[in-house]
Symmetry: C2
Subunit: 219 residues, 2 copies
């Protein structure tokens, strides 16, 4: 589709996949969405992507059923982009890609991914070695590693420094992380606003994303 006529010749699922997510920036948008980024401006400042390109990518990803554009407030009409199941299903790919990048090109540890229930670091396939199950994406806890800049310029990177679950909506707003925040902890945007009507490939409960029982792994 996006990458055009040459990939179409290929009879290969990998080529099909790359037609959709193989363009520049696309997988980084999906990564950010997994990290909890949902708003146009947050993607923009965190990725440093040109506005036009971001708009194009969000549209393609929405059209392909990887993101869903969802209105989260009416008064000034605002939409957010949320991963669908199809998008969440890219986690294993991104996980192994990141692992490869770190093992072969990374100097120091940038982030840790653990099973939130027990604190164990994830294995190479996103499994928890202790609990013997493939950890569902919302149960993955992400914490900064020693290699990560402790005082980044943009507020999104700053918000991503706090330990957090994957898919947990990012709140960029807390004015200064120095304690002068006068707001209530919950600013009115519910953590998982469920129950809205949705399309065929729509967003289901995030917990259903890539959950797999231990029985799916060799025991």
């Amino acid at each position: 589709m996006a990458l055009g006529k040459d990939y179409v010749t290929q009879e290969c699922s990998i080529a099909r996949a790359l037609e959709i997510v193989g363009e520049r920036w696309t997988l980084l948008v999906v990564r950010d969405a997994l990290y909890g980024v949902r708003r146009y401006n947050d993607f923009l400042v965190h990725l440093g992507i040109p506005r036009a390109v971001l708009a194009a990518r969000l549209q393609t990803l929405t059209a392909e059923g990887i993101l869903e554009k969802r209105r989260y407030q009416e008064s000034p009409p605002r939409d957010e982009y949320v991963l669908t199941d199809r998008g969440i299903a890219l986690w294993p790919t991104l996980r192994s890609l990141g692992l490869w990048g770190r093992e072969h090109f990374g100097e120091s540890r940038l982030r840790w991914f653990r099973h939130a229930a027990c604190g164990t670091e994830l294995g190479p396939y996103g499994e928890c070695p202790v609990c013997a199950l493939v950890v569902p994406v919302p149960d993955v806890e992400m914490t900064p590693g020693p290699g990560l800049d402790r005082d980044p310029a943009d507020p999104v990177s700053r918000a991503l420094l706090a330990p957090r679950r994957l898919l947990e909506p990012l709140d960029t707003d807390p004015r200064k992380p120095d304690g002068t925040d006068p707001r209530k902890p919950d600013d009115g945007r519910p953590r998982e606003p469920e129950g809205a009507g949705r399309g065929p490939d729509g967003v289901a409960d995030a917990a259903s994303g890539s959950g797999r029982s231990a029985g799916d792994l060799p025991v």
Copy 2:
């Protein structure tokens, strides 16, 4: 490097990885290399990639230690491009990407990947559910599925129709697959010519690529 200054800002292993293998065509070249393609011309006809782009990608991949350029005959000096361990380590990524593509966008099954030792189809992470181990890449057997064109135009696709191991060098030459091939089965190119001096990230025994004992999976 290749994708330029914007990705560099990112403190993220995924971004680092995409700097290397995120360009157009690159992952398809690696896929073909896993399938056993080794020669410039075979990549060319199988991918339908412009010559200049292929040359650029092969050079980048070689420079990054993912492929190794290796002379396989002297009389007319000919080189082949072989995956290093670093390249073989991309198999889990390509596997999960292909799985995602098939599950979400594929109509019919194009290829099967099985554990050669027992014939069991691989699980989502490249593991053999029966033998309870992550199958080393050279022990993966690839066979065509029902969705694959039985009479493709180019000789590389034709050669890839036969059941084969991953990394097994592709022989495009067998004049017609109708049995009139006068050659010996082993054409003198040893399957894994080991022992040559090599750089820090050089090609090791293919079997060591991503072999993992069952102990690495939760049991």
